[in-house]
């Protein structure tokens, strides 16, 4: 298969079909687009699940879906949005923009990068395939034991969940190693750590969190799988002395860093957008870097604040309470610095800035209810109620999704070479802001009134009715908002204005090259002399916008060759996991023939991959 390596200068020659080109690509920009497209489809599936949940809860005593299916809906909604939407949409931005922002031609390990994507996609399809079998995971997105054990979840539902997350974890860990190495080792000359764009810093911190938290969930999921399929009893409370609390601890040792994995890239994107649309540099750059690192570090010492209701005792409660409140300090530093960036700037009210401002306001509200949860006695009242649902949607939707949408409008011209429509963008923003608050603000009240989260339905007369109706109307408004976004994309795909290299007056290197970038990114490797590298270049040239960069032929530029092996490796991993599930249902032995085949395919692919030259020798 090594012969599949082609002369990179002709890598896009018509001889190779478009399909093969995408299946074997190792170009970080194409992988980024693959991440974005698949994640957006998963996002729509997760959104559809949310709409059905809201329709079910619109009125009291509704039976739109069965209670069993409702359990699958809320579990899949949470799992999908976290692991298959927000994380991979962030990964789209890491992939496409980290090399561009640091002035590199690709990531450190292009084929490993391709493998990360394929493993993610197959894992996502694996989890969602359960929906077609009417056996989707139904034990909640954090799969609490003993509910997730074989005894209480006898079907294959939670096997899909445990094995699916295991697959996704492999993708995240591989990407974590890759991007950590890329950011530390592939920077253009002069791009010191303290000159890096804030988004790159946020990705670096995110990868540290991934690398140190995902191994823990890997082990927890191995133990859950052992409990379910191999007669172990790690988490079942029985004579053997198993303890469900161990699952909760291991899950949240992973789970709390995980929520920072979801929000850090959002911080980074907003920190890129605000300076560009305020026409002044980011306020307090180094304070921003250190507060982000501090949040990440503290993030490993607060996991038990998810477990105040489990009775850990006053010592543990106090400790985790204080640690959690401590996180408000670096977070506050970040919020004040964003506002400081806007202060006195000449604001350009374009769509990305609208969403970035929306992010700041919504994230502050989510942060405030977060501090309320840090108070252990108050948390006992709020936990597992709709108040918590309101809180985490304010940080994950109001925070992450607002910021990722801002990033989509900001970077769309660079990725696809077309401008999105400004008017439609602003309609999208207002529908999303109003719909979002209409959906989630009433949940604070209905939660404190006592409506439990994940409840199938509720009787009338408890004071829940009006709030739930408002939430449902809000959720439908949100849906319309995203339809406007899709319409915007379709309308401008062929007929939208061509994007110049630098439509926004950007501060960072990606705006120095044509839109969309050519395969080798930079025809001449940039040299960086200070922060906001492109603004420095413009100052040096004495212009506001640099002349449009010419397209170059790319002859002699050395690029990694495409490869089939990442895709085959991913299939090996998937087959291995499927084998455990299929075999695990009836027999005790973990490795049936399917699993063995999966391991062999993985090992063979990695072996062939290792000996495949990184690029074809004749292309030198």
């Amino acid at each position: 298969m090594a012969t599949a390596a082609l002369d990179p200068a002709h890598a896009t020659s018509p001889k190779r079909s478009v399909l093969v080109d995408w299946l074997t690509t190792v170009d970080h920009k194409k992988i980024g687009i693959l991440y974005g497209a698949s994640a957006f489809i998963f996002f729509l599936i997760g959104g559809l699940e949310a709409e059905v949940i809201r329709l079910q809860l619109m009125k009291p005593d509704t039976h739109l879906v069965s209670p069993e299916f409702y359990n699958q809906l809320f579990t899949m909604h949470g799992t999908t949005m976290i692991f298959l939407a927000v994380m991979p949409i962030s990964a789209m931005f890491f992939n496409f923009f980290v090399p561009l922002l640091i002035g590199a031609r690709d990531v450190a390990f292009p084929r490993l990068n391709a493998m990360s994507f394929w493993v993610f996609l197959l894992g996502g399809l694996f989890i969602n395939a359960s929906l077609l079998m009417n056996a989707a995971p139904n034990g909640g997105w954090f799969g609490y034991a003993p509910l997730s054990s074989r005894q209480y979840s006898p079907g294959v539902n939670m096997d899909f969940w445990a094995l699916g997350l295991q697959i996704l974890g492999i993708a995240s860990l591989a990407a974590g190693v890759n991007f950590f190495t890329t950011i530390l080792n592939m920077r253009a000359p002069g791009m010191t750590l303290m000159r890096m764009p804030m988004f790159v810093w946020s990705v670096l911190v995110t990868q540290v969190l991934v690398l140190l938290s995902f191994p823990v969930i890997t082990i927890a999921l191995v133990m859950l799988t052992a409990d379910r399929n191999f007669h172990a009893s790690f988490f079942s409370y029985n004579v053997a002395g198993g303890d469900p609390m161990l699952w909760q601890h291991l899950f949240w040792v992973f789970g709390h860093p995980e929520v920072y994995i979801l929000i850090m890239p959002a911080f980074g994107i907003v920190s890129e957008i605000l300076p560009v649309f305020s026409r002044k540099p980011l306020f307090g750059y180094s304070a921003m870097v250190f507060s982000m690192a501090f949040i990440a570090f503290l993030g490993f010492g607060v996991w038990s604040h998810h477990m105040f209701a489990t009775g850990m005792g006053p010592l543990a409660d106090s400790f985790f309470s204080l640690m959690t409140m401590l996180i408000a300090i670096p977070t506050g530093v970040k919020i004040f610095n964003w506002i400081g960036t806007l202060w006195g700037g000449s604001l350009q009210f374009k769509t990305p800035l609208y969403f970035a401002l929306g992010f700041i306001a919504m994230f502050i509200m989510g942060g405030l209810s977060g501090v309320m949860h840090a108070v252990a006695p108050a948390d006992l009242q709020q936990t597992d109620s709709y108040f918590v649902v309101a809180h985490f949607h304010y940080v994950l939707f109001g925070g992450s999704i607002f910021s990722l949408t801002a990033g989509a409008y900001y970077w769309w011209p660079k990725m696809f070479g077309r401008m999105l429509d400004e008017g439609l963008g602003k309609v999208h923003f207002w529908l999303m802001l109003i719909g979002f608050n209409l959906t989630f603000f009433p949940m604070h009240f209905v939660g404190l009134l006592g409506m439990p989260r994940r409840i199938y339905t509720y009787p009338s007369g408890l004071g829940f009715d009006g709030y739930n109706m408002a939430s449902t109307i809000g959720a439908l408004t949100l849906g319309v908002g995203f339809l406007v976004f899709i319409y915007n994309v379709i309308r401008t795909w062929r007929t939208g204005a061509h994007a110049p290299a630098d439509p926004w007056g950007g501060a960072t290197l990606e705006w120095a090259i044509p839109s969309p970038p050519q395969e080798w990114n930079f025809a001449v490797e940039p040299t960086v002399t200070e922060k906001d590298a492109l603004w420095a270049m413009k100052r040096a040239a004495g212009v506001k916008v640099l002349p449009e960069p010419p397209l170059v032929s790319g002859k002699g530029i050395h690029l990694p060759s495409p490869s089939w092996w990442p895709l085959f490796t991913s299939f090996g991993i998937l087959i291995f996991m499927v084998g455990i599930m299929v075999k695990g249902e009836t027999h005790g032995f973990p490795f049936g023939p399917i699993s063995v085949f999966g391991v062999l395919l993985t090992a063979f692919s990695i072996f062939k991959w290792s000996y495949q030259p990184v690029d074809h020798p004749t292309s030198h």
């Binding site: 590199a104 031609r105 690709d106 990531v107 450190a108 390990f109 084929r111 490993l112 493998m115 860990l173 591989a174 190693v177 950590f180 190495t181 890329t182 530390l184 080792n185 592939m186 000359p189 791009m191 690398l211 140190l212 938290s213 995902f214 191994p215 823990v216 890997t218 082990i219 927890a220 133990m223 052992a226 191999f230 007669h231 172990a232 009893s233 790690f234 004579v239 053997a240 002395g241 198993g242 303890d243 161990l246 291991l250 040792v253 490797e525 530029i557 050395h558 690029l559 990694p560 490796t569 005790g588 993985t602 990695i606 072996f607 991959w609 290792s610 000996y611 495949q612 990184v614 690029d615």
Partner: protein, 207 residues
Amino acid sequence: MTAAVLDHDSADAHEEHPTSLRIDSRKLAIWTFIGSECLFFAALITTFVIYRNSHATGPGPKDVFEVPLVTAGTAVLLFSSFFVVMALNGAQEGNRKKLLLWLSLTVLCGCFFVGMQVYEFTGFMHKGMGYSTNLFATSFFTLTGFHGTHVAIGTLWLGTLLKDAYKGRIPPNKALNLEIAALYWHFVDVVWIIIFPVVYLMSLFAK
């Protein structure tokens, strides 16, 4: 597994200038992976420590553990660490004979350790300690099983490098191919340096 993938895989797009940290990306990546693995084994060791006394049914540590056998395994793994640095030394000096000698000894040690574990596990089964007999057994087999899998993967990895070395494909300027495998191998060794006292000696000592 990620570790094996890193072998030979580095973007040469940047060949014309040295990397930012003046270090090969593969070496930084394997260290990053090792850092990540620390948490992997931390979760496993924690679970074992919490559950090591949960053997109300079936045998406990004192019924099954055999210190002489495990001490032998520990010594083999420690020596293999020594052997692999000597092999690396040989590779860096361009001394093919030295490289082949020490690397084959390392691979042999890896095989011996895995064999020791298979023998040990079989013995435990015969003493009535299956994977799910009790939580002590389950967490013991999970922890040492994962460690053993790491040893097996490392042995395979070093085995492919031995084949490369035999064919003269590891000249001094490619010694890094061996160095990253050696780093992984040493890490597997230091994990055992923790497992040996914490899992075996402390469990036997406990009242």
